[in-house]
């Protein structure tokens, strides 16, 4: 996956526009490293509505739980059910392991380019 094609949020999600106009959302490599070994992912259901700036899922490590935020408002078109049995995929290949696919995307938060995100992470760390 070409990371330059992705867009990024300040809460460390990546967003990928698919050919059919949907958006896939996942966690960045930086995020998964901060979270440590993930043991479970709580995903929404297909058809649920998500809102820009609101959490749509949470991810659990052994001793922590963190919300995952949606950068867009829309409807969940699909969830990556593979993650329910193998949350470690997020640790192993974060940019393959999308969490949800959103359709009918409306309002969007301002997103960063790969370069902008890189700088953002550097400043934050």
């Amino acid at each position: 996956m070409d990371l330059k094609e992705l867009k990024y949020t300040k809460s460390h999600e990546w967003v990928k526009e698919t050919d059919d106009g949907c958006l896939e959302i996942g966690l960045t490599d930086y995020a998964q490293k901060q979270l440590g070994d993930l043991v479970f992912v709580n995903l929404p259901m297909e058809g649920d509505e998500v809102a820009a700036g609101e959490p749509f899922a949470d991810v659990e490590s052994v001793k922590a739980v963190s919300d995952v935020y949606s950068p867009v408002t829309g409807v969940v078109d699909a969830v990556n059910e593979e993650l329910l049995d193998a949350p470690e995929l997020i640790n192993e290949s974060p940019y393959e392991a999308w969490l949800i696919r959103v359709k009918d995307a409306g309002e969007r938060e301002e997103l960063m380019t790969a370069k902008e995100y890189e700088d953002f992470v550097e400043n934050e760390g």
Partner: protein, 478 residues
Amino acid sequence: MKLIFEKSCGGHRLDLLPPCDVPVKSYPDELLRKKTLLLPELSENEISRHYTKLAGRTFGVNDGCYPLGSCTMKYNPKVNETAAALPGFTKIHPLQPESSVQGCLHALKLAETLLCEITGMDRMTFQPAAGAHGEFTGLLLIKAYHEHRGDFGRRKIIVPDSAHGTNPASASMAGFTVVSIPSGPDGCVDLTALKEAVGEDTAGLMLTNPNTVGLFDKNILEITKIVHEAGGLNYYDGANLNAVVGIVRPGDMGFDVVHLNLHKTFSTPHGGGGPGSGPVGCKALLAEFLPGPTVEGDGPYRLETPEHSIGKVKAFYGNFLVVIRALAYILTLGREGIPDAARYAVLHANYMKAELSRDYDMACPGLCMHEFVMCLEELKKQTGVSALDIAKGLLDDGIHPPTMYFPLIVPEALMVEPTETESKETMDEVIRVFRKLKERAVREPEAMHELPLTAAVRRLDEVTAARHPKLKYEAETE
């Protein structure tokens, strides 16, 4: 070691019940279970040895120093156990007529009277089975109070960020929204933040005092006043009462409702996680909402449900036999012994803190109450040795680790609470081991990650356990 199911080889049994002396009743097939019940088949000797072996892999207060912060692992006196095992208590059915349970009711009334005096409250319920259960109950009293007055807008509970996780969880369960306010580095309430947080939507404040960093919040009267003036009520989390029991009372600090942990302050055993007891005391203004029934009268005693009771939080009257243990403890210590427990708990914590300050950083310098928090952030930066490594290292010397990584506002925290029942000799030994570990952390940090070396198991894989949970035994033949 083997599981009890793996030890079972079939055919072994105990002979416990007599044969049936009336015609045997049978049920039609459609009512009966289809799946065979598989339980171990063992002799009494085999069962006894199995649990003796498990006991050998369990560390109790009787095995050594247990300085687990915020848990108050004090000695559990034997007379309490004897009292709770009296047939006149154990063989009493909870629904016996009142005339036949006057001893139980008297015991509950006496425990209520004494604990109300100790907390500065007017009434008490013993129904909650644990501290968290008490929090839930106390918050429902606050909810019922506001709603009864027609004030339905008070939906927020203020909780400092240094609080135990149960506080916000209990508030949620009671239907409130949690407003988290920042604490200072000493864990004390930020008065400005509190003033900004209160308002017409404030139902109440939940607070532990001394707080989770082990300090008494000097501004307590002002804090409770701010909440009262905004129309809210103050909830006292009694988790840390052992520091001030018999010295100062939550009721005099401005609290309206309080829960106690009888398994902490009042010496009843923790039992590996329960049964505990979390009685809730309240000022008169909340008494009409208490869970029912409460004990009324002063002999003969009777059970009555308060007029606007929130209902029940549990069947019957609570963990009665735990209350009996606590009552025996209070009667033993009495008016001199109760404050002495607090004085020595605080002395012991300060002694350990003073001694350990030479080698370790403290989250907050100076005097503390019954516990203190060490901050190993700097040590970790310099050596890579974490609070976890030090904690696990203590195990090799027969010392139970302190509470780790709590409170959340202190990085690499170790929270130490020796309690009043540890001897100086024991504490000196713990201090010596802490020093030894510090020296070793500097000298050979890598080796520290391998500790403990002597335990039956070492550093269990919690990630796999949570990713692919295996929560029960399954024989290959099942």
